[in-house]
Point group: C2
Chain length 392, copies 2
């Protein structure tokens, strides 16, 4: 390992979904050995990983095996048992981002508290202690507000919008009736949803990507446009906040800072993800160094790469169509690839279901207007259906 330098450092990734797959795609370009841990035999990363430990994400023996087969560990999602990672780290296995950062970030309440304590603008929030106290929260935060599970949520799962007092009971029940710690957060009437990719190297070096503008539907990301259509001052604020976030969490590796830009020109942090992020997929084609290569560089202690945006870029998610469940098929590929600048990513998940993230399309063009239009046309063509559906 020392002889050959970083290229003989083997990477272990907890999770073999699309983020793991895209990390491996970058790692393999540089000839790096990658092992994944994922319970699904045919998960997206399976066919390009050097080795695959089939085990649950909470399986201590599996995680230990992964650590032993790797020189550095990372993960593609934040909902992992942090205690096991801490134990492995103490035994001498490097893990990035560090379990210490992960422990704070994976708990939304602790995350928000850390951000607030660092002087960063976040929505008003408070912990939910019991149902009694919850009933009084509307009086403090106002309606609507968000009830959130402190751990485990993604793509809007684990969140409930409380529009009025009558929604409280149902929201509380949906989120586990107090079995998982809950928090309440003021609803931000935002003008735009934006995000900034940031990466911190082992040496402390921090790089930022340009501000991205995100569009969601039913809490799921639909489209990302870069550069975001923002005033220079709002853009500058967002970049500065992302930089500070990286200092607060002492993150090593790629992070994504999701923020709201308000009508008043303020920027409020919504959430921090300690990993490459869906809203950063645009960087594969859009930037000199993709978020996945950047993550690999960071966790191996290599210098970070140039983040320049080369052309205006639009990313559109390909979600499982409504009404289609079962073995997936991709329709409209021929039509979509006939549109200039279109790049197709199909994650290779065997099964589709409504709104499941099955792939994405990226379009780069000379102008944002052109990129957005071409991406829209392409996304209208490609549909993720199920085989049963197609045979009817």
């Amino acid at each position: 390992m020392t002889l050959a330098g970083y290229l003989e450092k083997r990477i272990g990734i907890v999770g073999g979904g699309q983020l793991g797959k895209m990390m491996i795609q970058e790692a393999k370009k540089m000839g790096i050995h990658v092992t994944i841990l994922d319970p699904v035999p045919n998960c997206p990363a399976h066919s390009i990983a050097d080795a695959h430990i089939m085990a649950d994400f909470k399986d201590e023996a599996g995680l230990r095996e992964l650590a032993e087969q790797s020189d550095v560990l990372t993960y593609e999602f934040e909902h992992i048992g942090v205690e096991i990672l801490q134990a492995l780290e103490e035994e001498g296995h490097p893990i990035y981002p560090t379990p210490k950062s992960l422990a704070v970030i994976q708990n939304k309440f602790l995350q928000k508290e850390a951000l607030k304590n660092a002087g960063l603008l976040v929505p008003d929030f408070l912990g939910v202690e019991n149902q009694e106290q919850l009933r009084g929260i509307g009086g403090i935060l106002g309606y609507p507000f968000l009830l959130k599970a402190c751990t485990g949520g993604y793509d809007g799962k684990g969140n409930a919008l409380i529009q009025r007092p009558e929604d409280l009971e149902e929201g509380y029940r949906q989120l586990g009736s107090g079995k998982i710690p809950l928090m309440a957060e003021a609803f931000v009437a935002f003008e735009k949803e934006i995000s900034v990719l940031a990466c911190r190297g082992l040496s402390g070096e921090i790089v930022l990507y340009p501000v991205a503008e995100n569009f969601h539907q039913d809490n799921i990301l639909i489209e990302t446009r870069v550069p975001a259509d923002l005033s220079p001052s709002v853009s500058e604020k967002a970049l500065q906040m992302a930089y500070k976030v990286m200092e607060v969490f002492e993150g090593v590796g790629m992070f994504c800072v999701e923020m709201f830009a308000t009508h008043e020109g303020e920027v409020v942090i919504n959430e921090v993800a300690p990993r490459p992020h869906n809203s950063g997929h645009y960087s594969i084609e859009g930037c000199v160094t993709s978020q996945f290569e950047q993550h690999i560089r960071a966790i191996l202690g290599l210098p970070l790469g140039e983040t320049t945006l080369v052309r205006p870029t639009v990313m559109r998610n390909l979600l499982g169509e409504e009404g289609c469940i079962g073995k997936a098929r991709v329709a409209g590929v021929h039509e979509a690839l006939g549109i200039p600048g279109v790049k197709l990513h199909v994650y290779g998940k065997e099964e589709t279901k409504p709104k499941r993230k099955m792939g994405h399309i990226t379009v780069t063009a000379q102008s944002m207007e052109a990129a957005a239009q071409l991406a829209k046309r392409a996304a209208e063509q490609v549909k993720i259906l199920s085989i049963e559906e197609g045979t009817q």
Copy 2:
């Protein structure tokens, strides 16, 4: 297969070297299943291929197995037994580029004849019938001239430069003393070596990439710069010739047309390769659609992608260092990746030897001057050594 359209079409590649690996990298982005045939267990494409048939490139049973496991066959180098491919094609297995084009192109004499007959400018050439007739060729073509094996050569292997009559005997001996058919070709006193990537789709659609400028050392490609530093008229000539080449060979898939630009402003074809080419690696980072994605699109019958060059791009090959033989190690990676815009490709060949192609570096920048300078700096850092060497 018909249900899911092209995405369930499985590709079979003869050869699992770096070209095969880079084809697979693009195919896997789109979720396409790829099987390789290669005798080397740990060849560069091995770890990212879905399946690997370990067999010699001339092994009929192996090639038949590959065909049966795939919906379309392609290859990463042209020195394959064309008869086996023809038989498989007749049995109904689609193979692109077609064995018919391959049969002509893989024989340098037939290739030159086809180009000449189509009115394309090639160096004067003639077949070598025997040693007696060879002695008279200097009188026809003048000295120096090139003696070439009609089949099987690459990176200057299979060529001998005949500077004067006294070199004839040694050259003839080097190239097999007449066991392989030979040809003689006038030496072109070129100003620049250039190449154009071209791709033809199943529908006959042809796309061209910008003209690239190549620099060789000991007949091995060292550096490619795109765009080439040429007058618009020479550049236009080169593009028109590449277009015509695609019509002549009715090629399906990526081709590379290597040419000489003379001091007189003429363009002369040197050689045609029926596959992605080393001088086209720049397209991975430099162009909207890389030569590898383009090849995948073409052989699957998909529309061809945009070939726009996004930024000036320089590619430098990483060759095995002199004096280093054995298990490879890559030195200087940290230093090279600290230089802006540098992308590192390490093919993952286990063994290095002097001048073996082990990887490449690509740099994109705002100007060609900057890209060339950064690439030079990076290439000075990265060295392909052997482990034995490093421990001394």
